[in-house]
Symmetry: D2
Subunit: 377 residues, 4 copies
């Protein structure tokens, strides 16, 4: 009989916004058993939280060092197999590195690291160790994103000629115009968040999505960023021209000063045989545009969807899937990989995608700083 | 420290559509620990499924009798506290009854029973025992439904003058026109499903929702049902005129032959100070209509929502909630009640609502059979 | 060479809301020349308005008697051929009658008359005279309503099994709760508006549309109206159960106290092969639902639409049609009929539809007053 | 008494797509009387068309020279006052020039000319003559675009920090991939269409709209265009980075190879106090985003709209306005200007806007050809 995969978690405690997302996702398909972790840098809070989850006290660790040491002493069939890294951005790298080096599989929040250098280091270790490493570009798990990917792969919209991705939020607006606030927000502090705010946090989602659904690689970019204030070291808005090939062009728009926007992430792909459009805030609709035909709206759970899409749909049509489902699908994909089962291609975002994301962030800032010139990825 | 509530499940095994919904919901807020149950009438399948969930084998029971007997022998702090009944409709009553009589709390799928008589019997026992009994009218758990309820309660749209609820599906269309199929579908078999198909299955959701969000009670109804074929004993479509009071009228429309519809459940409430509208297939939008003002679209997670609504929202605005979240909120409400904590009024649908639902079903069929006349509820 | 049709107008002057709608519609396809009329009961205002339209002063008449007398003296090729009646409801009948009796074609706003009796009288005269008589159920002129009609006629959604029409407005809410206002509003005065307000004004649109798009006739109805106050003699809200045949049922909902609603007129038709949905406030989208297929959204101007629909579309896809276009199409249909050209069936609403509308209004009130019983149409 | 303005038309005959748009618009507010013109380069067709409009034969001219000569001989109060130029792009300049030189007011379709040079020439003559000159950037006439302009002007969304305009169509897709077709389409022939296809035809609308609603001027641009094939001399897709000021940035996206798109023109403006969004294909909704508040959807005809917006709304809320209404409003604005009445600022697009549009087109192509560098406007 198949045993659940033993999962540890770093971060994601009481104050965390995303802890619940990962826990629900891990539980969704009955693939994982959360066995312990370090939920908070403050040990007592970590313990309280672990207790709430009813975990064995002995596996609520003081810090990662203690976790690694103790877990390595356990017999292999009791040991944590995979560990989710939900800590602040700057800790993604050292923690993931330590985990990889000790043979754990890793699930890491994005952005993967704070520099491309670090990302490459992780990739090198991972390749040596042969570990599974998932990066939670959450939105790729939605059934209709998977359907879009399959349809493009199957030639449904022909050869891609135009790619348009947008990720608009407004949450930085109330901070950025206040000198005090903008100097104290951790997202705007390069020490904690790397060299980019808007592109690093959300632009990278849009970049990944553009490559994910099209199956194409972006070759070159030209970026124009906005910092709004001279004393603000981090971009909070930007437009990036994308070149996939001589003919296939695109544009990526990201903003955290699109006042009033929540999480307005949209994807539009146009080929010579049709177009496909999707919006994250209304994730259960996939729009198919074909010349001379009525607009088609595809929805999850129908047999006309691909097997890959259907695998990620839990209930019959008309029962809205949400963000939890999307992350649940990604965790499921990782579980299969850990179990060495054959899963769908694209079932979870890989470390290499995280590396490409870091490369994109660095090159975007480079292009902007050079005066908005083309830079090869 | 707070312990998780020990949950047993009846039904919901491998073949079940709704098993995953209840398990995800139970896990969502870290309130429950699934400890065992009877997942399938076929014991070996039940055991396989319990193993998959990594449950203690000794608590995967052959049937409900065994479960009750064994659990009652356990010390109280190890015993199942609450049991979810996800079995076919006609088993809801005997199982719930046995559970109540043995002191368990119960979570039961709707329709509660197959007759009003049975429902009243359950209510009587529950009142004697003082048990918690939740009926999973799932859709009442959505954050924006809760927001609608609070706003109406707070007088935001004034005195209610018009109620309009619709629940349209199309799934029976491909069955009903085929003599063979319509005679073998269990939903169309009164033995298994009670006296009504469409009203019993979905009309009752709409009825409950109309009373839930308005806080009003429907006094009288006049129903017109459609059976389409003389050899079909069960309604598959119907319209019900609703009278809340002399002045406050409404209409409930339900159909399973609205070809092509998925789960198109909508609620519109109009008062003398404004209107509120909500659609289940797009559950994160609540429309507020006020004379002389722009249409307002409220969304989950914003501070302008009520505490009751916000309690059921797990992530920041822009991260779509789905049906899992809705059921998760209901399980959370039940958990609080079991812990004797003070929760929000309306945090989960009560047994009395299930009883009213059964009454509605019977009276609807009665009104129709009498030639579409008014019947008091 | 084809001459424009000479058009006279009664009402529709400076204060009129609908005058501009009729004038724009008449001009749209270059079929009519407005030559004169009686624009206002106050002659000087009528003259001022006629001057503004740059009409020949001699054809701006004091009243209908003068108009008829003077026009009849003109040579036939100069005489007004058709006259649009845009006056208050209670004048529709006497004016239309006088016009028909004198050999004019007539375009009349709805409701056609204030009683069924009057409507039948008009019909009798019209049949004797062989005149063209259009009733402006404006919404039937939209390209996508025409498309819906053609598709149903062609069997696209199979045999109709469910009809659902809604017409919700909120404009009476601010009047009805004020005793003074509700006693002085002309729409609530039976002398001026006939026996019904809500059903007469908008329910009749919904009734006509239900029959128009399905090509079916409603056989029986059962109505429940709402008057809200005892001193209010006119319905302001109502639900009407519709029976097209033993199997084909439907429901019509109309309200003027759906607070905050503007002109929310929707049509849903379900057959055994699919469903079609349309909304007046977003008139350029027609939704086609087919089992096992993606939802289809048809839009005006595409070659996949019927000739009938395309005739009423003036610009390429993506250029929104509005209410003016809808009325323009109806005027065009009437022009063709006047010229004795063969036009599309359903190109304009006929007098017989107006008569059916009046019958519906009377029977609806009758059903309600009898205690919500079935009444044959 | 006010006389109608005498209007002549060049082009817009039987084969024209836009002739009907201009005629309906001219008639809408009863401000113009169409008296003659040159409707087709083939005189007999022109005469036939003029006859259909029932125009005086003597004023259906052989060509512009004849028109000018004959009209100049008429007494001033009978002479055409304003002439609409609806001919192919390359004729806009010579015809407008001749008209201006002879003292006519002009309404000209966009693009104004084929070169910036020509545009400036027109502007010079117009300034000397003091003529009224309207350029039909049609979409600025929609009531909700006007409302957006007023709200921004009134500071409703504060200081603008992000501008995003999109104009996506797909109509060139079926032509561009066919060598034969792409070499014979007039829009892709620089001789007939100037130096740009996509930017010239639709990008210029988006450019104008961005400046129109914000009241700001774009200072610099950086463009990346797509031609897809080496033998195609004209852009068919492009993205243009916009700089309004150091801080206020934006992006303009235009495409004619967004396969399946119809006329998907959208405008999003974000300031430090809120955001506003509008979509041409659904022109009656204006979205207002404010931090911490429900999304607001403004619609035409409500008293909360500005006077400027309300002036362009002909019917009560809930009666959809379409593209005809938008053009009608522009014609009305021009009529007022011709009558020397004080109208609303922005009531019609001026020649200076057409000049800026031509400048934008030339600079966009220049930026692209220079290797995607910043160019000052």
């Amino acid at each position: 009989m198949m045993k659940k995969i033993k999962l540890g978690i770093l971060g994601g405690g009481e104050e965390s916004l995303i802890g619940i997302l990962h826990r629900v996702a891990a539980n969704m398909f009955d693939q994982y058993e959360i066995v312990g972790g370090v939920f908070d840098s403050e040990h007592s809070r970590s313990v309280d939280f672990g207790n709430k989850l009813q975990l064995d006290k002995s596996r609520i660790y003081r810090d990662l060092d203690h976790l690694v040491e103790a877990e390595m002493k356990l017999p292999e069939n009791e040991r944590m197999q995979v560990i989710s890294v939900l800590t602040p951005n700057f800790l993604h790298f050292p923690m993931s590195k330590q985990l990889l080096e000790n043979g754990f599989h890793v699930i890491c929040e994005k952005p993967l690291t704070t520099t491309l250098e670090e990302a490459k280091t992780l990739e090198k270790i991972q390749q040596e160790k042969g570990s599974i490493f998932g990066v939670t570009y959450t939105y790729t798990g939605y059934p209709m994103v998977r359907q879009m990917k399959t349809m493009i792969q199957n030639g449904e919209i022909g050869s891609i000629q135009k790619v348009d991705v947008q990720y608009y939020q407004g949450w930085i607006n109330p901070l950025i115009h206040d000198k005090e606030k903008r100097s104290t927000t951790w997202r705007l502090d390069p020490e904690k968040s790397g060299i980019s705010c808007c592109i690093g946090d959300i632009g990278t989602h849009a970049f990944n999505m553009a490559e994910y659904v099209t199956g194409l690689k972006i070759q070159e970019i030209l970026a124009d960023l906005n910092y709004l204030y001279e004393d603000n070291p981090m971009d909070i808005d930007g437009t990036v021209l994308l070149r996939f090939s001589e003919k296939t062009k695109g544009v990526l728009r990201a903003s955290q000063i699109a006042t009033g926007e929540e999480n307005n992430f949209t994807v539009k792909i146009y080929g010579d045989k049709g177009g496909l459009k999707w919006e994250q805030e209304n994730p259960n609709y996939l729009y198919l545009l074909k010349e001379g035909q009525a607009l088609q709206v595809l929805k999850p759970g129908h047999p006309y969807n691909s097997e890959f899409s259907l695998e990620g749909t839990k209930l019959p049509p008309g029962h809205p899937e949400g963000i939890f489902d999307s992350m649940g699908n990604i965790y499921f994909g990782i579980a299969r990989a850990i179990r060495k089962e054959k899963g769908f291609e694209g079932a979870f975002p890989k470390l290499s995608e995280g590396v490409r994301g870091m490369n994109f962030i660095e090159k975007t800032v480079e292009s902007h700083k050079q005066g908005n010139t083309w830079v090869k990825l």
